[in-house]
């Protein structure tokens, strides 16, 4: 059976044109997807049973035992950290926030180690964004800054920018100009009309120089900025001003390097300057398929997009203090619940070592590196494959992910709700 218009649950593009062929309740082929999408749909690595760590390895246990163990760990903790959430659907994230309120813990999502700095910048100066549909149909100039969609968002260029014809662009590949700014010549850079190879850590200076040139104050800009000739900066500004509609996409090359959220703030202010001459927008290249959803759900439930601490009984937010890496680095939490993410692979070693010391629960379909440092793993159905739910695309558009095969395991919402109900009962709320 072929199922059309399936949504891919991997990156923030949330491509919704995937065709999946299913036989005997298994995915047997995938059309339209990228390499990563194919690997995700065809994966055979899903765990089948909850498992508990013992003195000499791991043992399989029932879901009832696993739920009870998770509840005991969370009730015993004085300051639990509930982290992850970006690889599951919004409905499960809602349960997580409710759960954290009862526990008085810290709830953080993966944006604290991806576009958290972008959120901080947006809170300072706003977000001149638009949907990807607007970009596809209107943008005649694309800038990729510190991002490499060719590897991280493989269909971004074919669905929305370089290779995607739009309503006002019949031949996008010829009519749309592409500028890439990066510290290395990536595959994306090779197809650019203009590539600026900047020195590492030079993003803030280059953005400032561009703002000065856009404002007509180019005389204060030196002959070279972070390895870029001034004439190239002027060429970039000319291309931007001549565009009818420009779209700047930026990645972790801005958020993870020196300056962090100040880099992003400078990029937003460049877009602000450019919008005085033409139409210009800015969009973060979100990684996890539903990391944008975590920011939405957390914000409408607590007022804050990530790193939310409920130890005072009300929501408190202070990234750098209440964010997961800092909490683990300071050895502040005394238990972890990790949902739909893998900090064991993606956090600095000091954080991983500490997770191995404290009781850690993982709710995830697959064995990953966090599994190894955990005490309990509860496998769940995969949203978009054998579970359904809501995800938010990188431009903030909510999209319903349907399931393509019948589940054999409970989904995140079901497992979390069972834990939440027992926590409520124990705490009498």
């Amino acid at each position: 059976m072929k199922i059309e218009d399936v949504v891919c649950p991997f990156c923030g593009c949330l491509c919704d044109d995937i065709i999946v062929e299913v036989e005997n309740n298994r995915v047997v082929s995938v059309d339209n997807g990228c390499t990563i999408c194919n690997a995700k749909f065809m994966s055979k690595n899903q765990l089948k049973k909850p498992m508990r760590r013992t003195d000499d390895g791991w043992e399989a246990i029932s879901y009832d035992e696993a739920i009870d163990m998770a509840v005991d760990i969370l009730l015993d903790a004085d300051r639990p950290l509930l982290y992850g959430w970006s690889g599951t659907h919004g409905e499960a994230q809602c349960v997580g926030v409710h759960m954290n309120e009862i526990l008085g813990g810290i709830i953080d999502n993966t944006s604290s180690v991806c576009h958290g700095p972008s959120v901080l910048a947006i809170q300072e100066v706003g977000h001149p964004g638009c949907t990807l549909g607007q970009v596809k149909n209107r943008a005649d100039l694309i800038i990729y800054w510190g991002s490499n969609p060719d590897e991280a968002h493989p269909r971004h260029m074919s669905r929305y920018t370089t290779y995607a014809n739009g309503y006002f662009l019949d031949n996008a590949f010829r009519e749309r100009k592409v500028i890439v700014v990066d510290v290395r010549e990536t595959e994306t850079a090779k197809i650019a009309d203009l590539f600026l190879k900047i020195k590492k850590g030079g993003d803030y200076a280059v953005l400032s120089a561009l703002r000065a040139i856009v404002r007509g104050k180019g005389d204060v800009v030196p002959d070279s900025v972070a390895g870029i000739e001034k004439t190239m900066l002027e060429q970039l500004v000319t291309m931007c001003k001549e565009a009818k509609f420009g779209a700047l996409f930026f990645g972790l090359g801005l958020t993870m390097t020196k300056g962090k959220y100040k880099n992003v703030r400078n990029a937003i202010e460049l877009v602000d300057e450019l919008s005085r001459h033409t139409k210009f927008t800015l969009t973060p290249m979100r990684g996890h398929w539903n990391v944008y959803g975590t920011n939405e759900v957390f914000t409408w439930m607590t007022g804050y997009p990530f790193a939310v601490d409920f130890c005072r009984g009300i929501a408190f937010y202070n990234p750098g203090e209440t964010s997961a890496v800092d909490i683990l680095g300071r050895h502040e939490c005394d238990a972890c619940l990790i949902v739909a993410s893998d900090p064991g692979a993606h956090f600095p070693r000091q954080c991983v070592e500490y997770m191995a010391e404290i009781p850690t629960i993982v709710i995830d379909p697959y064995e990953n590196l966090t599994t190894s440092v955990a005490d309990l793993q509860i496998p769940v159905a995969v949203t978009g494959i054998d579970a359904e739910g809501t995800g938010y695309r990188m431009d903030g558009v909510p999209i319903h992910l349907k399931k393509v095969i019948e589940p054999e395991l409970p989904d995140d919402t079901e497992v979390l709700t069972r834990i939440y109900d027992k926590l409520r009962e124990a705490r009498g709320v």
Partner: protein
Amino acid sequence: MKFVMNTGRTIRQGKFIEAKMKSGYGAETSTCYMHPIDLMEVGIEEGDHVLLTTEVGSVVLHVVAEINQPPGGIFVPLGPYANYIIPSGTHGTGMPDFKDIHVSLVPTEEPVVTTRDLITSLGGVCYED
């Protein structure tokens, strides 16, 4: 020699993201991409091993020559090998310096450890199916 380490996504790393205990994931995330001139400077060839050291630890990676890599900079796909030597400080932002790590790099005969051995050294116990 001193280098600045950059980390990030590669499509091969992404392909193995739901199969992190497979050898393909370990092979990709333990790769150190370097400019060919830097290989000559250090006195190594593609496929050789290097020991990267920072203030928080050391890790052995295998080297791949990459002409598009800026000289003086190395690129390691994001994952447990790079994070083994990345400090947890965030400068009050919540975000560690994943792309700006100053490392010392020397050739070594030591083997590249498996992902399982790496996580075991941090206190982990791997699940054996």
